[in-house]
């Protein structure tokens, strides 16, 4: 879809649509390829992100780092919830749902910015992003949170009978009173985006590589202790943080949590199914 001399496309992630626009046709071509499963043209977008692609010489001059841990500032006094992210030189106003991003020619930049934006807007849904792989199997959603190397991608690879939602950043949202897992384009080592579908979550499984398959049921408090470090949230804002914390408490209270000790074989699913 072309508006004037500006390319634009609409994505729907977790049921929240975002129109992305940029004058750089090269950037939009890359974006269209990466987010193909998440196109939602025709929807009235809730969010708008305008991109300005920086010329390489401007990127080099920039004193801003491009690390994975952006610094975030949030100033409610200036136009409500306006957030300035000093990583990719992006801004997002959560009142209007409009954001601007200046970045190099790389879809990864948009991906980082989208994670940042969605981590903010999801709290109101309510929902949250979490470092976890997630899958749908027989109509049920399964979430596997963990740090790098815990086995998120391995679990996804060992699940040929399942539909991949993501191998890195899962989107969890309450739909009709149920915690529901959605596919995301936020991928990890698999380098494959998830399917843009969703399913109610039947359990949250914290993977631990082992020499046997074994499932250990966790009390909600134990699950909360394990979940919180993996929840994605950039803004250092007390009100947002409180809402997110309460939501995580609800999540572990309603969704059964387990430690999943697993062999690198798909046989671990027998263990999961028996839980």
């Amino acid at each position: 879809m072309v508006t004037g001399n500006r390319n634009s496309l609409t994505l729907s992630i977790g049921g929240i649509s975002t129109v992305i626009s940029s004058e750089s046709e090269e950037f939009m071509a890359q974006t269209k390829e990466r987010y193909a499963k998440f196109f939602a043209d025709g929807l009235d977008p809730a969010l708008k992100i305008e991109l300005e692609v920086l010329a390489p010489e401007n990127v080099q001059r920039s004193p801003i780092s491009f690390g994975e841990s952006p610094e975030v500032s949030l100033d409610r006094s200036k136009g409500g919830s306006t957030i300035a992210w000093h990583g990719l030189s992006g801004k997002f106003d959560s009142r209007t749902g409009e954001g601007k991003l200046r970045c190099p020619l790389s879809p990864a930049s948009l991906n980082s910015f989208l994670r940042f934006v969605y981590s903010l807007v999801l709290v109101k849904e309510p929902g949250f992003l979490v470092h976890a792989s997630s899958l749908i199997r027989n109509g049920k959603g399964y979430v596997f949170p963990g740090e790098s190397g815990a086995g998120k991608t391995t679990i996804a690879q060992l699940s040929p009978d399942s539909t991949l939602l993501t191998d890195d950043i899962s989107l969890v949202k309450i739909v009709n009173g149920e915690f529901t897992a959605f596919g995301t384009p936020f991928w990890g080592a698999l380098a494959i985006g998830g399917e843009n579908i969703s399913a109610p979550i039947t359990g949250v499984y914290f993977p631990i590589k082992d020499r046997k398959n074994c499932l250990k049921r966790l009390k909600p408090k134990q699950a909360l202790e394990r979940l919180l470090p993996h929840v994605v949230f950039f803004a250092k804002d007390n009100e947002f943080s409180k809402q997110l914390f309460m939501l995580c408490c609800d999540f572990v209270t309603k969704v059964p949590g387990y430690e999943l000790y697993f062999l690198p074989q798909s046989s671990f699913w027998r263990c999961v199914d028996s839980g």
């Binding site: 250092k236 007390n238 914390f245 309460m246």
Partner: protein, 96 residues
């Protein structure tokens, strides 16, 4: 001198899960899980109850000898106050 204890509501969020408190420090995004005694103390920290009163209640509730309760509770309350989770005041406090 006895002091009154209150939760630092501006800087914390908490929830009782499985009968025990999980407290988040919103300033640094760290969280602390409390055991049953810690949770009991946390619940008593309402700004109108003093450290001495809390220690007495712990003795009654958990059948702990007063000296042990005094030492352990004072340390625990001091630790949470140092982390900014509790506030100590010579006068009763609002809220908590």
């Amino acid at each position: 001198m006895d002091k009154y204890v209150a939760k630092n509501s501006d800087q914390t969020a908490h929830r009782i899960v499985d009968g025990e408190a999980v407290v988040v420090n919103l300033k640094d995004s760290t969280f602390q899980t409390l055991n049953s005694v810690g949770t009991f103390i946390w619940q008593q920290a309402d700004g109108r109850t003093s450290v001495k009163e809390i220690i007495q209640r712990v003795c009654q509730e958990f059948e702990v000898d007063p000296d042990t309760a005094d030492k352990d509770c004072s340390e625990f309350i001091g630790e949470l106050a140092n982390k900014g989770l509790l506030v100590l005041s010579p006068h009763p406090l609002e809220g908590g």
